[in-house]
Amino acid sequence: MTELVIIGLVAILLLVLTLWKRRSPQQFRSIPALASLIRAIGLSVEDGSRLHISVGHGSLITPRSGSGLAGLAMLRHLAERTSSSDRPPVATTGDPALSLLAQDTLQAGYSAAGAEELFVPTTGRLTGMSPFGFAAGAMPVIRDERVSANVLMGYFGPESALLTDAAEQENVITIGASDNLVAQSILFAGSQDALIGEELYASSAYLGAGAAHTASLTVQDILRWLIMVTLLLSAVAKFMGLI
């Protein structure tokens, strides 16, 4: 029951911060990876190439769904911004349910840009049922479909190294983020810019997704501080023999 209360309080805090009208825009710390992403978006639209956005193979009915949903939020805004490009973005997934949501999200992005007639359902693809099968299916997309930037945001495993390697062979920049530690280490070594940890969940706020995303960052910061204080106090109390 305690967990439910905590979740309820977090939800209320999120709602309040979402509805709170800030006088000045919230300032975020600079994340070079997201800056490169914004630049890559513009370059892809200018030179008529496309973006490859992969939301991983995290199933929605598993704890891996959080990174998948964050990846879908990023996909929504990327689709809106790049819908006018000569080559529309392609979204690849390794989970069937996630592929359906990716198609829906792409369509929402096109609708927001007023170019719903340009939406092609096959731009949201299921490339494989297993992680390595998904990677094997995504590599041809990077190699053959004139991709200018790789955006890997979701749940990935060691197979992300194959994607980064394929991108490097095609001189395509890769911006990756995952909640899997293995993938984070691989993306750190293999990609140009990597998002570590919870930066995956902040990427949509950096792209101006809305007040809810911005409020989520604030809630995360508040909770993080609470956790840090609790850990420190607990460690001190344990050290002093109080607990």
Binding site: S130, P158, Q169
Partner: protein, 792 residues
């Protein structure tokens, strides 16, 4: 009562207030809404014609007074007028008409000097009753200002100049106005001076009116106040000299010389009374006038040529029939008969020479004195005009353009004997001038060379000597800016911004700040490294050759790791203490890609368990390929144990639903997984037919390659597991994430990576041996990687 908000300061005032009590601005409008007769004129609409007589009440007081006087003067003039005066015929605008408009006013203010000349009484100064508004000089004829069809209903329009300038006539001219209004008298006689007349301009004695008194303010009433040059002229003027009053602007039908005639009439009326008075003009000519009057080639004996009577008939000749009249006219005024007017564009009609008496007197005096260029006396202003500076030609030009009263003022001879005056035809007004040259008459006016050298600067009062320009040498010239003196070149102000160093520094700082705002931030772009396919091939070749060669050779060069860790020891102990022939749940959640590593880790553990405890293994997986991998495990590394499906193990296959499926299985295993991998009832007819809850399993062994799967099974079965021990055989990549669960006691033992498998295998008597097989390859590959990383 509703309050009024001030439109200026915004404060609230009561409605009855006319002015704001805070800022004193008007609250109540002066005028009401424009409607009816006050409605504004729309475009295209002709203004409504007004009867000007109806506008009399709204006229200013001074205008009304002027109009009244004009009416009176008109009536008087009509009575006195005997001769139809020729029309001036001047179509040119009479620029001095306004001056005559002040006649009515100034008639009452006759200056004393003028009164003495004319012999009329000087009237007391009439108090001004009108407003002090500026009297505009009206140009043109009255009927020019009337609209079509409109009759001059206002008498003032007939004599606009008279009524308008009634109170604002310059003092010097106020006393010389004729009694009656009329056309521009000044320009008239100036115009007369232009035309080649044989006779002096006719002079009509104008009745002196009370306007003389007004002009007396500007003119000294006594001789002491008069300028010297005027005094000198006055002294030599005979008693009979009469100062004619300048006529007020006469109507068109009057001639320009009517004012002179009027003056003569006044003189006749006043008699000799004025003659007894001192002449306002001094008979002694001023020095500048004396110098001018000294002609080099003039018979006037020193009278400046410009002052000498021109040889034109207008100046010199007199009609015989007018001689009698001229004798009564002061000499100085006789000489003032304009030969030509500077304002007229056409040569005016010959005007009978009517030299004003005052001017004639000046001429006589000039003759008597035999002007010679002499140094002016001390205290006297230097003559403005020097005869030597004039040439014959210039003198002639001067006489053609100069007013008569100025040109004949210095002549000693009467206009009738202008022997010394160079007879030169009046220069046409349209005399062509060479570019860059001053007109002759202007040059003649400039006594620069002589007057400035001979005459010291005037020290009388505040009169300064003009030193440059066409009026050089004249005294008492009004400066361009009163009180300041001659104008000078305006000071040049630099348009460069005058800012202090501190201000400049601040502005530079502000510019930097603004530039930084608009300056684009450089984006650190990555430098794309060229892909090195050769290095890839080399690495691949090395790894393939070395690893496969060692694997093929089955070398045992590298020793196995020693030292059993706590996690591995606990795992071993738990497997040794599980009850025999009890169901043990084995979760197979790894990908086919990691089969080699996972089989090398899981095989020694399961082999150890099977050998010692003969459990009934129940395989299940949340991965679609988990069931097949379980079968591969039993038919591969554990083949020697001969476990049979259905009796010694169950393969439940794929458990759908992920986390939810695990939770379901933990709550009710039979219901969550009723079928086995062969799609046959899994629990019926098996040794586990009596199993009804998850807690009946004696242990749970998770074989997984990722921490999420292990966490899922650990967390979701926590409530149903009870005291069931949990063992984890994980890949090396998931070991750090599972370590906390071991530390917290949720996991009893962990065997991770090939390292753990090799250690456990050593404790299992080296069975099955996969770890030993792979260890040399594994070590050699690791060393190769270290070397390549360091070398690269």
């Amino acid at each position: 009562m509703a309050d009024i908000t001030c439109p200026v300061c915004g404060e609230i005032n009561s409605a009855d207030q006319e002015f704001c009590q805070y800022c004193q601005s008007r609250l109540q409008p002066l005028t009401g809404p424009l409607k009816g007769a006050d409605a504004p004129i729309t475009p295209g609409q002709f203004p409504t014609k007004k009867v000007t007589a109806d506008l009399e009440p709204i006229l200013p007081q001074w205008l009304r007074d002027a109009r009244d006087k004009a009416r009176k003067n008109a009536e008087e003039q009509a009575e006195q007028e005997s001769k139809p005066e020729p029309e001036t015929g001047a179509s040119a605008p009479d620029l001095l008409a306004g001056l005559q408009s002040q006649k009515a006013e100034d008639e009452e203010e006759t200056p004393d000097w003028l009164a003495n000349i004319t012999g009329s009484k000087s009237k007391s100064k009439k108090t001004e009753t009108g407003s002090t508004e500026v009297h505009w000089v009206e140009l043109g004829k009255p009927n020019e200002f009337m609209q079509e069809g409109e009759e001059p209903s206002i008498s003032a329009t007939q004599e606009p100049t008279e009524s308008a300038g009634e109170e604002s006539l310059p003092p010097w001219l106020a006393g010389t106005e004729p009694a009656e209004g009329g056309a521009d008298e000044l320009t008239a006689w100036l115009r007369e001076a232009e035309s080649p007349r044989a006779e002096p301009p006719a002079q009509e004695p104008s009745p002196r009116t009370e306007s003389d008194s007004g002009s007396s303010d500007a003119f000294p009433r006594s001789s002491e106040e008069l300028p010297d040059w005027l005094k000198n002229l006055q002294e030599e003027k005979p008693v009979s000299s009469e100062v004619p009053q300048m006529e007020s602007p006469l109507p068109e039908e009057k001639s320009d010389s009517d004012w002179l005639k009027e003056i003569q009439n006044q003189q006749a009326e006043s008699g000799l009374e004025s003659a007894e008075k001192e002449e306002p003009f001094s008979t002694e000519l001023p020095a500048w006038l004396k110098d001018q009057a000294a002609p080099s080639d003039s018979s006037l004996g020193g009278v400046p040529d410009w002052l000498q009577a021109p040889s034109s008939p207008a100046f010199i000749s007199e009609e015989p029939e007018q001689k009698a009249e001229q004798e009564n006219i002061p000499d100085w005024l006789k000489a003032a008969a304009p030969e030509s007017s500077v304002f007229s564009e056409e040569p005016a009609a010959p005007i009978p020479s009517e030299t004003p008496d005052w001017l004639a007197s000046l001429q006589k005096d000039a003759e008597a004195q035999a002007f010679e260029p002499e140094k002016p006396e001390e205290g006297e202003p230097p003559p403005a005009f020097v005869e030597d500076a004039l040439s014959d030609l210039n003198a002639e030009a001067l006489f053609t353009e100069m007013p008569d009263w100025l040109s004949n003022a210095g002549t000693a001879e009467p206009p009738s004997t202008p022997s010394g005056v160079p007879s030169s035809p009046p220069a046409p007004s349209s005399e062509a001038l060479t570019p860059g040259e001053l007109p002759s008459w202007v040059q003649a006016m400039r006594p620069i060379e002589t007057s400035q050298a001979e005459a010291p600067l005037s020290t009388s009062g505040d009169q300064t000597l003009e030193t440059r320009g066409p009026l050089a040498g004249l005294q008492g010239v009004l400066p361009a800016i009163p009180g300041i003196g001659p104008s000078s070149k305006p000071k040049a102000y630099s348009i460069k911004l005058q800012a202090t160093e501190e201000q400049q520094a601040h502005s530079a700082l502000l510019e930097q700040v603004l530039a930084a705002e608009t300056a684009p931030e450089p984006i650190t772009s990555f430098s794309p490294l060229a892909t090195q396919r050769g290095l890839r091939w080399l690495l691949a070749f090395l790894l393939l050759v070395i690893v496969s060669g060692v694997l093929f050779l089955r070398t045992h060069v590298f020793s196995l790791p020693v030292g059993e860790t706590d996690e591995i020891r606990n795992a071993r102990l738990i497997t040794e203490n599980i009850p025999q022939n009890t169901p043990v749940l084995v979760v197979v959640d790894y990908e086919p890609a990691l089969t080699g590593e996972m089989e090398a880790i899981a095989a020694p553990l399961l082999d150890h368990l099977i050998i010692l405890r003969h459990p009934v293994l129940v395989f299940i997986s949340t991965s679609p390929t988990g069931g097949l991998l379980a079968e591969r495990l039993l038919s591969g590394p554990l083949q020697d144990r001969g476990y049979q499906r259905g009796t010694q193990y169950l393969n439940l296959g794929f458990l759908p639903g992920g986390l939810t499926g695990v939770r379901s299985f933990a709550q009710d295993p039979v219901a969550a997984a009723p079928l086995n991998i062969d799609r046959a009832p899994a629990w019926i007819g098996t040794p586990l037919e009596s199993l009804t809850s998850f807690s009946q399993f004696s242990a749970m062994i998770m074989i997984t390659d990722n921490a999420e799967s292990a966490r899922t099974w650990i967390e979701q079965t926590n409530s149903s597991r009870g005291a069931m021990p949990v063992l984890v055989a994980s890949s090396a990549q998931a070991a750090p994430m599972i370590e906390p669960y071991y530390n917290s006691g949720q996991v009893s033992g962990v065997v991770s990576g090939l390292y753990g498998g090799a250690i456990f295998e050593q404790n299992n008597s080296g069975r099955p041996g996969f770890a030993r097989t792979y260890w040399d390859t594994f070590s050699l590959g690791m060393i190769l990687a270290i070397v390549l990383i360091i070398a690269g």
